[in-house]
């Protein structure tokens, strides 16, 4: 049995009132809230073990290094990577994608192509545009269909021997669409291309198995999975990580430095220049333990129930249109508009009622251009949300409609 009230008791922020009303937080796809276990881990880090890692010979440095490396191992186990050194700590998904795009620069030339999906977040578009500009490679796009899913019918034409990298999100942030990444990965590997999966929106809802997926890279943001802001990780296959150029130079990432030449450190340190976000990495491990303690099967089941309930309720509102596929092909995101209502107006009025949603283009302007809309209102749910909160949202939408129309 899923005891949502017991779970909510772990999240101090959810108990507060906003503008005199109980907070209804439906902006989870932007960032998740943090359980007290994670908050306490951060405080505990600074109160008891704060020291720089991998360097000191002293007691505190040893403990903080051990905790940080234990978190890496927690992540390795969670995504079923073969080696802990294939897990690179990052500040989040954006960092991970930029790291890979930059690392591929020496490996690409003007005859090569980079393939991304039409459903990408800007952070999985712009770094590849940079790479294309720097190498002369061409950026191509897997088109999308009216139902908000990728159109793979043309894949055999746009994915060719020229394609060197394919970058797609596991789940769309704007619509919640679950992409057929196994199919894309297999097709990409058939032509020898490396595949990066942007897992920012998937990691909160499911447990990725990087070996079963056979992806070459998988990037995750800690802040979306109940971990501290500014934490995250990149999984990369050892063979690719060894071929890639380091992203940033600095301390920690070197083996030997002279003014003539520097040799790089072994994985994962080659990609971890400078003092990292130590408490963030440790907090990320604690967050994964927290989620796994609940169980991703239970989390997914609860979120699917919330999604189905919200979809039914919002669909029943006169003039509502939900963008994206049906509930069996997406995660707990309802991206919608009400006929005749600008998403900004609806979002601003819901805010006055203590309901947090995201409005606008969700950093995915190509999708909004596809539907020819200024944006959508996005309600994104996590396991700690309740059916009563969905009722509050629906009542709020009805009230806003009355005021605006």
């Amino acid at each position: 049995m899923f005891n949502v009230q017991a779970i909510r008791a772990d999240f101090p922020i959810l108990t507060q009132t906003v503008k005199g009303k109980n907070l209804v937080y439906f902006d989870n796809a932007a960032t998740s809230q943090k359980p007290k276990q994670v908050i306490e881990a951060i405080a505990n880090y600074y109160e008891t073990i704060n020291a720089n890692i991998h360097r000191g010979v002293h007691y505190l440095s040893q403990i903080s290094t051990d905790r940080y490396e234990a978190a890496r191992e927690t992540i390795r186990k969670h995504v079923n990577a073969q080696h802990a050194f294939e897990i690179i700590f990052t500040s989040g998904t954006t960092h991970g994608i930029n790291l890979v795009a930059s690392g591929f620069e020496p490996l690409l030339n003007e005859n090569d192509e980079i393939l991304i999906g039409a459903l990408e977040h800007h952070s999985n578009i712009v770094p590849w545009q940079f790479l294309a500009e720097r190498t002369g490679a061409k950026l191509r796009v897997i088109p999308m269909l009216e139902n908000g899913t990728l159109d793979l019918s043309s894949l055999s034409e746009i994915l060719t021997e020229k394609t060197k990298v394919v970058a797609v999100n596991h789940i769309s942030n704007a619509l919640g669409t679950i992409n057929p990444i196994r199919e894309i990965i297999a097709a990409a590997h058939a032509v020898g291309a490396a595949v990066l999966i942007d897992g920012a929106q998937a990691a909160p809802h499911l447990q990725p198995d990087v070996q079963a997926l056979d992806c070459d890279f998988y990037t995750v943001s800690g802040h979306k999975i109940c971990a501290p802001t500014g934490s995250g990780f990149l999984y990369g296959k050892e063979s690719w990580l060894n071929k890639m150029r380091p992203y940033q130079g600095g301390g920690e990432m070197i083996k030997e430095v002279t003014f003539e030449k520097t040799t790089y450190a072994d994985l994962p340190h080659k990609f971890e220049a400078g003092t990292p976000n130590i408490e963030g990495g440790i907090g990320l491990g604690v967050a994964l333990d927290y989620l796994n303690n609940i169980g991703f099967d239970k989390i997914a089941a609860q979120e699917q129930s919330l999604l189905e309930y919200a979809t039914a309720k919002i669909s029943a509102i006169d003039g509502a249109r939900i963008y994206g596929p049906d509930t069996s092909h997406k995660t707990s995101v309802v991206s919608f508009n009400i006929e005749g209502v600008h998403p900004y107006d609806l979002g601003a009025l819901l805010d006055k009622m203590g309901i947090a949603v995201r409005t606008g283009h969700h950093c995915a302007q190509p999708i909004m251009n596809f539907f020819d809309i200024p944006g959508t209102v996005r309600a994104s749910m996590m396991f700690y949300n309740t059916f009563e909160e969905i009722d509050a949202l629906v009542n709020g939408i009805e009230k806003a409609k009355q005021m605006l129309l």
């Binding site: 503008k19 600008h342 998403p343 900004y344 107006d345 979002g347 601003a348 009025l349 006055k352 409005t359 606008g360 283009h361 200024p374 944006g375 005021m403 605006l404």
Partner: protein, 145 residues
């Protein structure tokens, strides 16, 4: 009437609403947004657009008899209502007065959050643009004088 006098008038009007009740104030802004005369279609061009992340604003200015006359529009009603309030305060005024005028009366009518850069609705840029037009017209009138 001076800009500050108009702004005091607007503040006095908003004081009639129950401070505990946001609905009334917002309904008033929404109704203003619905009633604002649209900008002349020929000025609703890409050149006059101020792109916010959330909503778009179109702004046009004319210079008539030493006064700046603004007209504007937005695709979002709340933004449009705020525009109506800003235009009421700044339009038909001398460039010098517009340049010196403040917008803190928006805080006093409880709509501060809409004039915040984080809202990205185009209003902050619109206020800047209102002042830019005033500056352009004031230097133009000095040259002519």
């Amino acid at each position: 009437m001076s800009i500050s006098a108009i702004q005091e008038e607007i503040v006095a009007e908003f004081e009639l609403f129950d401070p505990e009740n946001w609905d009334e104030r917002y309904q008033y802004v929404i109704d203003l947004g619905k009633s604002l005369p649209l900008i002349d279609a020929k000025y609703k061009t890409d050149e006059n657009i101020i792109k916010g992340c959330q909503s778009k604003v179109w702004l046009h200015a004319d210079y008539e008899g030493g006064k700046v006359v603004y007209s504007a529009d937005s695709d979002a009603i709340l933004t449009k209502g705020l525009i109506a309030i800003l235009i009421r305060s700044f339009s038909h005024q001398a460039p010098k007065d517009i340049l010196e005028a403040k917008t803190d009366f928006i805080d006093r009518i409880g709509l501060k959050e809409h004039l915040s850069p984080t809202r990205a609705n185009g209003l902050v840029s619109m206020v800047k643009q209102i002042k830019m037009y005033a500056l352009a017209f004031s230097s133009k009138s000095e040259q002519q004088a």
